[in-house]
């Protein structure tokens, strides 16, 4: 084993280095995949966090709310295919994302709405 590695190191240095780097990258991805799987297996983590890029209809969908009711609460017309994002509505209403979140949460059922 040792002599094999020594031989490869002498004659195929680049190939051996590439293999070691690739193996380390594989290991890193494996660890990350396991960690994510563990994190997301906890139902408490699963509720979709609010982000500025999300259309309002999508937020309603992921939190299992009535899109028409949410749209009315923020004074926008609910039309399929017309995508106003949370960020755009916040800017229009002069709200921060955090304030938007609080207002939406007030409309949402208590924790675990999508379980």
């Amino acid at each position: 084993m040792r002599t094999s590695i020594a031989h490869l190191w002498r004659h195929h240095k680049l190939l051996l280095l590439a293999f070691v780097v690739a193996a380390l990258v594989t290991l890193a991805f494996a660890v990350r995949t396991i960690m994510f799987a563990l994190y997301w297996s906890d139902p408490a983590h699963r509720r979709q966090q609010l982000e500025a890029w999300m259309p309002l209809r999508y937020v309603a969908y992921s939190w299992q709310l009535d899109p028409a009711r949410i749209a009315a609460a923020f004074g926008v017309k609910d039309q399929q295919g017309r995508r106003l994002t949370v960020g755009q509505i916040a800017a229009r209403k002069d709200l921060t994302l955090e304030q938007m979140k609080q207002q939406l949460e007030a409309l949402a059922p208590p924790s675990g709405g999508n379980e």
Binding site: L15, A22, R32, W40, S62, P67, R83, T85
Partner: protein, 204 residues
């Protein structure tokens, strides 16, 4: 940048997905898989129309692959002139061509869907080692259909847990691609070792 691109899905819809899948097939660092998962989720919430998104992703990806392949094919012609003056290198190219001829089709297919991070490099290799264009095209289209429907479909199915599914899936895809590269390099190392053992036992 990812947040901006995700916001663009809401603002531009299908167009941005066409652009991103096109660029990703030319090895540009854009989060095409994540954007397709997101688009799938937006189909579920009726923010996007499914047929339009499928067509945009598919045409962007296939077109990007064809451009990569065509560029490498151009390169191959220049390479042939160079190799005709260097017989040792030319022998290596003959081996590479035989490999492509044998494994090229399935290689193209799986590098679209199962190990998609490797796709752009497979396009270049396929073009440079002379895989026939009709064969490349057919496997490419089949592979991209699988890729696009898989990611859009999973985004649709797991729409309310978009962050979770993209975290897990993108890591898994990276893991598979890294594993394939590691195994390939490992095989090359084993072959090099066997060669040297063979040389050592050969009478001089």
């Amino acid at each position: 940048m990812t947040q901006t691109l995700l916001a663009l899905i809401s603002e531009q819809g299908a167009l941005i997905l066409f652009v991103v899948t096109f660029l990703s097939c030319l090895a540009m660092p854009v989060p095409a898989s994540l954007m397709m998962l997101t688009a799938g989720a937006f189909v579920a919430s009726s923010d996007l129309s499914a047929p339009l998104i499928v067509v945009a992703c598919l045409s962007g990806a296939v077109l990007g692959d064809q451009v990569g392949f065509a560029l490498a094919r151009r390169l191959q012609e220049a390479l042939d002139g160079y190799l005709s003056r260097r017989p040792k290198r030319a022998a290596l190219m003959v081996k590479a061509r035989a490999f492509t001829d044998r494994w090229g089709g399935p290689g193209v297919f799986f590098s679209r869907c199962l190990v998609s991070p490797l796709g752009p490099y497979v396009n270049l290799t396929a073009g440079a080692t002379g895989l026939s264009w009709p064969r490349f095209l057919i496997w490419d289209i089949l592979g991209e259909i699988t890729w696009v429907l898989l990611y859009l479909g999973l985004g649709y199915l797991f729409a309310s847990q978009l962050t979770a599914i993209s975290n897990i899936l993108l890591n898994l895809s990276g893991l598979l691609a890294a594993l394939v590269v590691t195994l390939g390099l490992g095989l090359a190392l084993l072959r090099a070792l066997r060669h040297s053992a063979h040389d050592a036992t050969r009478p001089r």
